[in-house]
C-alpha cells in the first residue's frame, strides 16, 4: 500500500473515485483542488527510482522516476491544481471526473517505465480528454469530440501496432529500445506525431480545444501535446527528420493564428507553433537542445494555461468567443487582462518571463549546430507569436473599439488561479535556476546575456511597430479558415456516403444493409462532415457510429499487425 501511495497519479485517481461516489451529493471541484495539491506535494518530495510488479508474466514498471519524468509530472500536477481552482465555480462532477482521469493518466504516462503501462495510460488520456471535450455541453463540442476520437483512435492503433511489433521482434518491455528506421520506430513515431499535433496531423487540436468548456480548455492545453513531447524526448532524441518538421510546425501555427477569429482556436494554433520548437529541439538532439525542449515544455504548460485562462475569462465575462464580436472590455477585467499580458509576454519570449529562459535555449541550440534555416524559422515564429498572441488578440479582444458588450464580474477563484499562474511565469523568468536545476541533461546555459536580451527586445519592438502600422489591416472578420481537417470532414465523408449508397444499391447486400444500417452510416458521414446537419433518422445511433469506426480501425490494425508478426515468425 505504501508503494501505491508513492505514485503521484494515485492522488488524482482517488479523487476520481471520491467524485464519482459522491457525484449527486457534493461538488467535485474542492476534491480536485485537494488531490492535485497532494500530487504536487508528492512530486516535490519524489526521488528518482522505480517500482515494478509482474502481471501475467509481463514486468510492469508503473513508476519510473528520473529527472525527465519528474519534471513533466510536476508541471502536470501544478497545472491540474490551477485548472481545478480556475474552474471551481462552474465545473460539475462529470467534468471534474474527466479532468481528474485526464491529469492522472498524463502523470502516469510520463512515469511509466514499460510499454504496456505507457500504452494503457496513453489511451486513458485519449478517452478522458474526449470526455472533457464533450463536457463543453454543446452540439459543436460533441461533434468535435467525435472527430477527436476518430483521429486519436487511429493514433492509438498505430501505437499498439508499433508496440506489438517491437515486442514480437524481441524488444524489451521496458520503455525505449526502438531500432531507428524499423517499422515499430515509424509506427510509434506516427502515433506520437498525432498527439504532438505535427502538421498535417494537427487539426484535431484546433478543431476540438475551443469547443470544451473554459476550464476544460485549460486542462486540454497542458497534457496531450506535452505528453507527446515527453515521448519524443524519451524515445526519439536526435531523430533528424524532426528538425525541419518542428521548424515548419512553429511557423505553420503562427501563420494560421494571424487570420484566426476564434480566440481559443488562435491559442490552439500557438500550441502547434510552440510544440514545434520542442519537436525541432528533440530533433537537434544535443544536451542543450534536449534541455531546451524539456524546459520549454515546462514553461509552455504554465503560460499556455494562463493564456487559456485569460481567453476563458473573456468568454466567461461576455459569453462571446470571437475577436470580431469582442472589444473594449479591458476596464471591466483589469486583473485578468494584466495576467493575460504576463502569459502573452511569456509566450513571446520577452526577457523576465519564463518563455524567454526556455525558448532562447532552443534557438541558441540551433545556432550552435549551425542550423541557420531552423534558427531563422524559429525566430520568425517568435515574431509571429508576439504579433498574434501578444498584440492582435489582446488588442481586438480587450482593447480596441468598444462594442457595448455586457461584461459580468469574474469569480475570485478564477482570478486567483490566473494570479498564481502569472506569478509562476514571472518567478521562473526571474529566477531561471529554479527550473534549470531540475533539467535532465548536462548542459549549461545563461539566458540573461546582453546579446540575448537586446536581440529579444529588438524583435519585440519591431513587431510592435509593424502591428501599430498594420493593425487596421489585421482587423478580424467573421468566418473560418480551412485546415487539414477539411480532408476528413468533406471528401472522406462524401466518399463514405457514396460507398454506403453504392453498397445499398446491390442485390442481397442491399437488402441487408438497406434501412437502418445504411442510414446509420450515412448519418455518421453527414455528422462528420456537417456539424449542423440533422440526421436522417435516429440521431442517437448516428452519433455513436464514429466510435464503431474507431474500433474498426483499431481492430484492423491489430489484425494486420498479428498477421505480419505471424508471417515473420510463423513458428
Amino acid at each position: 500500500m505504501m508503494l501505491v501511495l508513492l505514485h503521484p497519479a494515485f492522488w488524482l485517481f482517488i479523487g476520481l473515485v471520491i467524485v464519482f461516489a459522491n457525484r449527486r451529493r457534493m461538488p467535485g471541484m474542492p476534491v480536485g483542488v485537494i488531490v492535485a495539491l497532494g500530487a504536487v506535494l508528492a512530486l516535490m518530495r519524489a526521488v528518482e527510482g522505480s517500482l515494478e510488479t509482474t502481471v501475467a508474466g509481463f514486468r510492469l514498471v508503473w513508476f519510473q522516476a528520473d529527472r525527465l519524468s519528474l519534471l513533466f509530472s510536476l508541471v502536470f500536477a501544478i497545472v491540474a491544481l490551477l485548472g481545478f481552482l480556475y474552474g471551481s465555480h462552474r465545473m460539475r462532477a462529470g467534468e471534474t471526473a474527466a479532468a481528474l482521469l485526464y491529469a492522472g493518466s498524463a502523470i502516469a504516462t510520463v512515469l511509466a517505465g514499460d510499454w504496456i503501462t505507457f500504452f494503457v495510460f496513453w489511451e486513458a488520456m485519449a478517452l478522458s480528454s474526449v470526455a472533457l471535450i464533450w463536457q463543453g455541453g454543446t452540439a459543436g463540442a460533441r461533434r468535435a469530440g467525435m472527430r477527436y476520437l476518430l483521429v486519436h483512435g487511429a493514433g492509438g492503433a498505430l501505437l499498439f501496432a508499433g508496440i506489438v511489433l517491437h515486442l514480437a521482434g524481441g524488444g524489451e518491455t521496458s520503455l525505449g529500445g526502438l531500432v531507428s528506421g524499423s517499422p515499430p520506430f515509424w509506427l510509434i513515431l506516427g502515433a506520437v506525431a498525432i498527439n504532438a499535433a505535427i502538421p498535417p496531423l494537427h487539426a484535431w487540436l484546433t478543431d476540438a480545444y475551443p469547443e470544451a468548456s473554459t476550464s476544460g480548455s485549460v486542462f486540454l492545453s497542458a497534457f496531450t501535446t506535452k505528453t507527446a513531447v515527453y515521448a519524443l524526448l524519451r524515445l526519439f532524441p536526435g531523430t533528424e527528420v524532426l528538425v525541419p518538421l518542428g521548424a515548419a510546425m512553429a511557423l505553420y501555427g503562427v501563420v494560421f493564428a494571424v487570420i484566426e477569429n476564434d480566440i481559443r482556436r488562435l491559442l490552439g494554433y500557438h500550441i502547434v507553433s510552440q510544440v514545434g520548437y520542442m519537436v525541432a529541439a528533440v530533433g537537434i538532439g544535443t544536451p542543450l537542445a534536449l534541455n531546451g525542449a524539456a524546459s520549454h515544455a515546462f514553461s509552455h504548460i504554465l503560460y499556455k494555461a494562463l493564456l487559456f485562462m485569460g481567453a476563458g475569462a473573456a468568454i466567461e465575462a461576455t459569453g462571446l468567443r470571437r475577436l470580431s464580436d469582442l472589444g473594449g472590455i479591458s476596464r471591466h477585467m483589469r486583473f485578468a487582462v494584466a495576467m493575460y499580458a504576463v502569459g502573452a509576454l511569456s509566450i513571446s519570449g520577452a526577457p523576465l518571463f519564463n518563455g524567454f529562459i526556455s525558448k532562447s535555449m532552443i534557438v541558441s541550440a540551433a545556432g550552435e549546430e549551425h542550423l541557420l534555416w531552423t534558427e531563422l524559422l524559429l525566430v520568425l515564429a517568435a515574431v509571429g507569436t508576439f504579433l498574434s498572441v501578444g498584440l492582435k488578440l489582446p488588442w481586438f479582444a480587450f482593447f480596441g473599439e468598444r462594442r457595448g458588450v455586457a461584461v459580468r464580474p469574474l469569480p475570485t477563484n478564477l482570478l486567483a488561479a490566473m494570479g498564481i499562474g502569472g506569478a509562476l511565469c514571472l518567478l521562473y523568468g526571474l529566477f531561471p535556476n529554479l527550473l534549470y536545476s531540475r533539467l535532465p541533461y548536462l548542459a549549461t546555459y545563461a539566458p540573461y546575456t546582453l546579446d540575448h536580451v537586446v536581440s529579444s527586445a529588438q524583435l519585440l519592438l519591431a513587431t510592435g511597430f509593424v502591428f501599430y502600422l498594420a493593425r487596421k489591416k489585421l482587423t478580424p472578420s467573421p468566418g473560418l479558415a480551412l485546415d487539414t481537417d477539411w480532408l476528413y470532414r468533406v471528401p472522406l465523408a462524401r466518399m463514405i456516403a457514396a460507398a454506403t449508397r453504392a453498397l445499398a444499391a446491390v442485390g442481397p447486400v442491399a437488402r441487408t444493409l438497406r434501412g437502418e444500417t445504411v442510414t446509420r452510416l450515412d448519418n455518421a458521414a453527414r455528422r462528420l462532415a456537417a456539424p449542423g446537419a440533422p440526421p436522417r433518422r435516429r440521431a442517437s445511433f448516428a452519433f455513436r457510429a464514429p466510435i464503431g469506426w474507431t474500433v474498426l480501425f483499431a481492430a484492423a490494425a491489430v489484425v494486420i499487425t498479428w498477421v505480419v508478426v505471424w508471417l515473420r515468425n510463423p513458428g
Binding site: 504579433l387 529588438q458 480551412l482 470532414r489 456537417a530
Partner: protein
C-alpha cells in the same frame, strides 16, 4: 502616429542600438545567425518578418482558405 510616440520609438531604437553596439564592442559571443552580428539586425529581421507574416496571412492565406462560418453545415450531404 503622434509626434510624441514617434519620438519615444526613436529613443528606444537609439537605446537598443547603443546596447547592441556595447555588446558588439565588448566582444560578447553572438549566438547563431548572421542577423545577430549586424547592429540592429534583429530589429530589421523583426520588422521584415512581422510585415511578411502579416502580408502572407492576409493577402495569400486568407483569400485562399477563408470560408463562411456555416461552411461545414451540409458539406457532406449527398
Amino acid at each position: 502616429m503622434s509626434r510624441r510616440a514617434a519620438a519615444a520609438l526613436g529613443l528606444v531604437v537609439v537605446v537598443l542600438a547603443g546596447l547592441d553596439g556595447l555588446a558588439f564592442l565588448s566582444g560578447a559571443e553572438h549566438h547563431g545567425g548572421f542577423w545577430n552580428s549586424v547592429p540592429l539586425g534583429d530589429l530589421a529581421l523583426g520588422a521584415l518578418g512581422a510585415g511578411l507574416l502579416a502580408w502572407f496571412a492576409r493577402r495569400v492565406l486568407k483569400p485562399l482558405l477563408s470560408r463562411p462560418e456555416s461552411y461545414y453545415d451540409g458539406a457532406g450531404s449527398p
